[in-house]
């Protein structure tokens, strides 16, 4: 059975001035699949993520989400698509002036007609899933880096998105919290049949969650396939990545 792509990238080029960061990328991301984007520093991982999300304007090429062109002029169409997406930013990007619980409630209040009681209940559930119910009334500035990241993940999944983007979810987390976050990502994929795109360097995390990896180098796709395939792909840079990180 052929897999349904949720993201289709055709001939994507992103330039900053004279520098080409992404060089003619053709890539599909599939339904109910966890795809990990990896590569060395400056390989274009975060730029690829931001180009897909429209946070960086691509110089050339097309991005389609759920079969619809995403970078369109029609704001309402883009907003409808955004409601089907959750994004976990590298540093959390929680709103610092309001409590964690209020951060959670923002997407639910803005995009649903749910009653306040139900919003509170749902927010508590999502915070509970990331183990942060006790911090519901605290401000983000009162949380540790790891807690902020978990709260940000709870906010990203508030609307049960079909597609979740995670930028370095394990960075700065201890191995136990990192593993718990990976388990949560796997649970979300199973329960909500989410498609998940993760940018990470963490080998342990890649082994735990990745169905498919996309290895970037100098703005081009060097390799895509499963982790076992990557280890024996014959490409020195890819194989070294997995060898150096293993112990």
């Amino acid at each position: 059975m052929s897999k349904t792509p949720v993201i289709q990238i055709k001939n994507l080029v992103t330039r900053f001035g004279d520098r080409t960061i992404l060089d003619h990328i053709d890539l599909d991301f599939y339904e109910n699949e966890i795809t990990v984007i990896l590569g060395g520093s400056g390989s274009g991982k975060t730029t690829l993520l931001k180009s897909i999300l429209g946070l960086v304007e691509p110089s050339e090429g097309e991005v389609a989400l759920f079969g619809e062109p995403y970078h369109s002029e029609d704001e309402s169409s883009v907003n409808r698509t955004l409601q089907r997406i959750g994004v976990l930013f590298q540093n959390g990007a929680l709103l610092n002036s309001i409590s964690v619980l209020d951060n959670m409630a923002i997407p639910l209040e803005q995009h649903t007609d749910l009653h306040a009681d139900l919003i509170l209940k749902m927010s508590a559930v999502k915070l509970g899933m990331v183990g942060l119910t006790h911090a519901a009334h605290q401000l983000p500035s009162e949380l540790s880096g790891g807690m902020r990241k978990r709260a940000a993940l709870a906010r990203a999944i508030a609307l049960d998105p079909e597609l979740l983007f995670c930028d370095e979810p394990s960075a700065g987390l201890d191995p136990i919290t990192s593993a718990a976050l990976d388990d949560l990502i796997l649970t979300l994929r199973k329960q909500l049949e989410m498609s998940i795109v993760v940018v990470t360097h963490e080998l342990a995390s890649i082994h735990r969650i990745a169905d498919r990896i996309v290895f970037l180098s100098k703005g081009k796709i060097l390799f895509q396939g499963s982790v076992p395939e990557a280890k024996t792909c014959g490409l020195e840079q890819v194989e070294t990545f997995f060898k150096v990180g293993s112990f």
Binding site: L95, N96, S97, L101, L108, T112, D113, L114, H115, D117, L118, L120, K121, M122, A124, V125, K126, L127, G128, M129, T133, H134, A136, H137, L139, P140, S141, L159, D160, T187, K190, Q191, L192
Partner: protein, 361 residues
């Protein structure tokens, strides 16, 4: 693609839910379910539910804990059971929100806070003065070229706006007073009024307010951003005193710039009055200048310049104080910047009133 819907039917005492229980369908379903009396329902059948998200699970939980407490769930497929387990709300009770302080507690907190603020301000002032005095003898602990750079930022870049506003202020003051003095044949006293008010009051105060808005806000924003991004901690860890490294150059630069800017403001303000005196009141340029020079004394100039030095110190101290006490991220930076400007302007006007009282006595 058709929009998902959720329906219900009451079959005997069994409430049969059908369709998709998602955040899109629940608000309407919730409204319709209000018509059902709780006693009519003994079980909820989910066998017709094709899709359920976390909103659906929370909704079912809410029904089971509230109106339909004690009813049983039936027709739960394995897939639905997994979803119900994954998003169950029972294991995640929210803690009670923190108790808000009462009226008297808030007053008590304010008093303690004020005491703390005063002690921190005194400490900051003493450190700034100490390191500034020491800075006259040694260059260590100070960034090369920092004072010149700050003089350019605080002084040169503000020349245009201060010149323009002071000139306009002189024009306005002269116009307002001319209309009254002319009726008594006392037009020449416009020169006295403008000279005294610009030198003793308006020149220093206007300049200080403009500098508080321009540079005071920038001090608070710069220092708070540095603190948020741990640059201040990094300086400490390099055994560099942040006050000496960041605040002292600003303090010395503003101490040099402020009297010069005030001089400019005085001259331009008086020139504004001169223009009205000569064009509107038909005074001769010579008589206007002579009247201005005859009324001004060294004491007036000293009053103006001494005020400008105090105002300069107030702007740096308040900007730095708020910058160092930032909490939170970007939002905290914005908050302390606003607070610094408001507090500086308040302090400048208050100090000006105190000076006026002192010089009157």
């Amino acid at each position: 693609m058709s929009e998902p819907t959720a329906e219900f039917t009451l079959e005997g005492t069994c409430l049969l839910l059908v369709g998709a229980l998602t955040h899109d369908t629940i608000p309407a379903l919730q409204k319709r379910l209000k018509k059902i009396r709780a006693k009519q329902v003994q079980s909820i059948d989910l066998s017709g539910v094709m899709q359920m998200d976390s909103a659906g699970v929370s909704f079912i939980d809410q029904l089971m804990e509230g109106r339909f407490q004690g009813v049983t769930l039936v027709g739960v497929s394995d897939k639905l059971k997994d979803t119900l387990d994954a998003f169950a709300s029972a294991p995640h009770p929210l803690p009670a929100p923190p108790r808000q302080s009462g009226f008297f507690e808030k007053i008590g907190d304010s008093v303690y806070g004020l005491r703390h603020t005063i002690s921190e301000l005194v400490l900051l002032i003493s450190e700034v003065v100490f390191w500034s005095a020491l800075g006259l003898f040694t260059r260590k602990g100070r960034r090369k070229g920092a004072i010149i750079q700050q003089i350019l930022l605080i002084g040169s870049n503000a020349v245009g706006i201060i010149a323009l506003l002071s000139f306009v202020l002189g024009l306005i003051l002269a116009l307002q007073s001319a209309a009254q003095l002319r009726q008594f044949g006392a037009s020449i006293y416009v020169a006295d009024l403008i000279a005294i008010s610009m030198v003793r009051e308006m020149g220093p105060m206007m300049t200080a307010i403009i500098i508080a808005g321009r540079s005071g806000s920038s001090f608070a924003a710069e220092i708070s951003s540095m603190k948020v991004s741990e640059e201040v901690d990094a300086l400490r860890m390099m055994a560099i005193n942040p006050i000496r490294y960041i605040v002292v150059p600003k303090f010395l630069a503003i101490t040099i710039s402020m009297p010069l800017l005030v001089t400019l403001s005085m001259i331009l303000g008086i020139f504004g009055g001169f223009i009205i005196g000569v064009t509107y009141l038909d005074l001769t340029p010579v008589s206007y200048i002579n009247e201005t020079l005859s009324i001004l004394t060294i004491e007036d100039l000293l009053v103006g310049f001494s005020k400008s030095l105090f105002f300069a110190g107030v702007i740096v101290i308040i900007g730095s104080y708020f910058g160092f006490r930032v909490e939170g991220g970007a939002e905290g930076v914005g908050r302390v910047t606003t607070s610094a400007v408001v507090a500086s302007i308040f302090a400048i006007i208050f100090l000006d009133a105190v000076f006026s009282l002192i010089y009157m006595m």
